[in-house]
Symmetry: C2
Subunit: 414 residues, 2 copies
Amino acid sequence: MNSKTVEIITIGDEILIGQIVDTNSAWMAQELNKAGFEVFQITSVHDEASHITHALDEALRRTDIVLITGGIGPTNDDITKKTLCQYFHTKLVFDPSVLENIKQVFANRLDFVFNDLTYSQAMVPENCTIIQNRVGTAPITWFEQEGKVVVSMPGVPYEMQEAMRNEIIPRLQTKFQTQKILHKTVQVFGYSESALAIKIADWEKELPDFIHLAYLPNYGIVKLRLTGTSDNLLSLEFAINQQIESLKQILGKAIIAFEDLPMEQIVGNLLAAQGKTIAIAESCTGGNIAHRFTSHAGSSEYFKGGVVAYANEVKTDVLQVTPEDLEKFGAVSQQVVEQMAKGALQLLRTDTAIATSGIAGPSGGTPDKPVGTVWIAVCIKEKMISRLFHFGNTREQIIQRTTQAALVMLKEIL
Amino acid sequence: MNSKTVEIITIGDEILIGQIVDTNSAWMAQELNKAGFEVFQITSVHDEASHITHALDEALRRTDIVLITGGIGPTNDDITKKTLCQYFHTKLVFDPSVLENIKQVFANRLDFVFNDLTYSQAMVPENCTIIQNRVGTAPITWFEQEGKVVVSMPGVPYEMQEAMRNEIIPRLQTKFQTQKILHKTVQVFGYSESALAIKIADWEKELPDFIHLAYLPNYGIVKLRLTGTSDNLLSLEFAINQQIESLKQILGKAIIAFEDLPMEQIVGNLLAAQGKTIAIAESCTGGNIAHRFTSHAGSSEYFKGGVVAYANEVKTDVLQVTPEDLEKFGAVSQQVVEQMAKGALQLLRTDTAIATSGIAGPSGGTPDKPVGTVWIAVCIKEKMISRLFHFGNTREQIIQRTTQAALVMLKEIL
C-alpha cells in the first residue's frame, strides 16, 4: 500500500506517566485513514525541547507530514511553540488576528478573563501559516519546508478534532495527491485466532498485494479486517467484496457480522429494526451485559432493563427460578439459566431476554463444574436457546467472553 | 527522584489505523512509576521487521530498558518474535515448558484445540529468558545485552498486565533498583484537578525533594499519590505520613480514602467487615455499578444483586416506584430515586441499597434538567441520603462519574 504516510507526535508528560490515555492519536489515525493517509508511527515525548526536536528530526526523515498535538497551552511547561521557532529558525511575532479570534470564541463566555497568558497566545512563529482555533485559545501553526509539512495543534481533544476535520485534513488532501483506502471488517465467532488462521490460510495466501489482512481478537470474537488501497474506489470495493464472498464459502455461519461495530450495537440495531425490547438476567456477568447495551446512546429504544441475580435468593425471589431445580441442578445449569431468562422476560414484559449463569472464579469451581463453566440462555417469546460454554481463566476474561457469546446467541435467534 | 528510565514500544497496525486505543501504555506507565521507573518515550510501530528494528535501536540508544508489547500472536501478521531473533542474532528453538504451560492454561477450556500454531508458540529464541504466560499462549521473552534489557510481551491487556505485575516489574526492580520506594495514596472527592492543585499549592511547594506528588484524576475522584525514595524505609514512611497529616488539615472530609483501591472495593470491604449486603437500582448507570462490584472476586459475600430499571415500567413494576410520583416529579427526581433505593432494598432483602437516575444524553435533556443531571440515593435500613449532581458532557463521563459519586455516598453512610 503506497498511500501518503503521516507521523503523529504527542507532547506531554501526562501521557508518559500514564495519567491520561492517548485517545487523540487513535481518533486522528481513523480520520487520516478515511482521508487516504496512513499513519506510520506514533511517538509520545516529554515537554522537553531537545526531546521534541529529536522526535521531529526522526519523523521528518521517514515521512513528509508530521502532526504534533499538545504542549501549546499558555502555561510555562508548554514549550512546543518556542521549540518549533528554534527548529524552523524563526521568531515569535504578535498576530492581531489570533487575539480577534479568541475574542470571538469567548464572546459569550462570561467566565473568561483576558490576561497576559491570553495575549501570549497571539505571539506566533513568523514564517508559518496560522490556522485559527475556532473553539479554543491556542492557534494551529502550519510549517512547510522542502515540500514537507509540520502542523502543531492543541492536545485538547475537541479543539484538535475541530481543527483536523475542518482545516488540517482538507489542506493535506489539497497538497498531497492521495490514494483511496477502504476497510471492510467481518466478525468471526467460535474460532481462536490461531484456529481461524489455519482455517483460512489458503484464502489468505491468495490475497492480492493491494489488500492487507489483520486479525483482531476480542474475547471469543475475531475481527478480520481487510484493508485495500487504490486510485479507483469502485474497483477496490468490488475486489474486497469478492474476497469476502469467498471467505463466506469457507466460514459460513461462523461469520456473525459484516459491520465493524461492537456486538451490543449490532444486536441493538436489530432489536430496534424489529421493534423488539430486551431484558437481561445476569448472574456471572454481574451487570456487564446491561452496561454494554446502555453505554450506547439510543439504547433505551429497545433495552428495558435487567436483573442482576448474583445471590440464589434473587434468582428465586425475583426471577421465579424454582428452588427445587436450583437445589437439584445447581445455579450453573441449563434448567436454572432458562428459568432466569423466562423470568426476566415475564417480569420486565419484553420480547426477548438473555440470561447468564457461570463460575467466574477464582473460587467456586468443582471437578464437574470448573471455573469458567458458563450456561447462557436467550429467548424470544416462544423460542429458547441455551448453551454450555467453558471460558478462560481470569474473572475478567470469563465475564467478557460470556457477554460476547450471549450477544452472538441473541443475534442468532433474532 | 532519579529513577531508571524505560521506553515502551507498542507493535501493531491496529493502533496505527486507530482501530484500538493504546490503553496498555498508560497502564504500564502507571505501574512502572509506582515501581520507581520513569517512561521516557512511547513509540507505536507497524508489524514490520525493519520498523521494529529501527525503533528498538533508537530506544536502546536512549535507555537501558525497553518493554515491547504486541505482535507475538501465532498468526502471520505477528512478526515480533522472528524480528527479535534476528536482532539478537539467535534462532528459534522448541521449549517444552511453554507447551506444558499452555496445556495448564487451557486445562479448563474444552473448546481449546492444539494445532501447529499452538506448537509454534513453543518455538522461542534460544538466548533469552522465557517467562511463562499464565493466562495465554504467547510466552514472554526477556533479552539481556551489555547490561540492557529488552522484554517482549503480549499486547492482550490482561495477559500483559499479569506478566508486568507478577514477573517483569519484580525482575526489573531486582536488576536495577538501588533505593527503596514507598507510595501512599489519598483519594479526594469534590474537587477538579485544577481546583485541588490551587487548594494544596502551598503544601505542594513545601514537599521535600525525595517525595514526588502525582495527580491521578478518575471521574470525579482525584488520587494524590505521594512517592518517596530513600535508603531508609522507616524514616521515609514517617516523612510521607507527616505530609499526609498536614494534607488532612487542608482537605478534611474531602479525603475519602487512604488506600489505593477502586471505590467499589473500599466500600465492598466495609460491607464485608460489617456483615452487610447490598442491592443496586440503576437507571442512568445501566448496570455499571453492579458490574464494578462483581468484577472483584469475593463480591458475592456482600453483593446480592440489582435491578437495572432503564424503562419507567421497570421502576414501577419491579421497584414499586409510585406511578403518581413518576408522573409528577419525573424519573430524574429525588422522590423517584429514593423509592428506587427503598424498592431494591425490599425486593432483594438487603441491608443497604444504591439508586441512580439521571440524563446520560446525548438527547433527553430539558432546560431545567439538562444532560448530566443526576439524582443518587443510598440507604441503609432506616437511613436515606439523596443528592443532586450535574455531571459532565459525554455519556461515558456521566455514567462513570455517577458510579463514583454513588460509591462515595455509600461509604459516607456506612
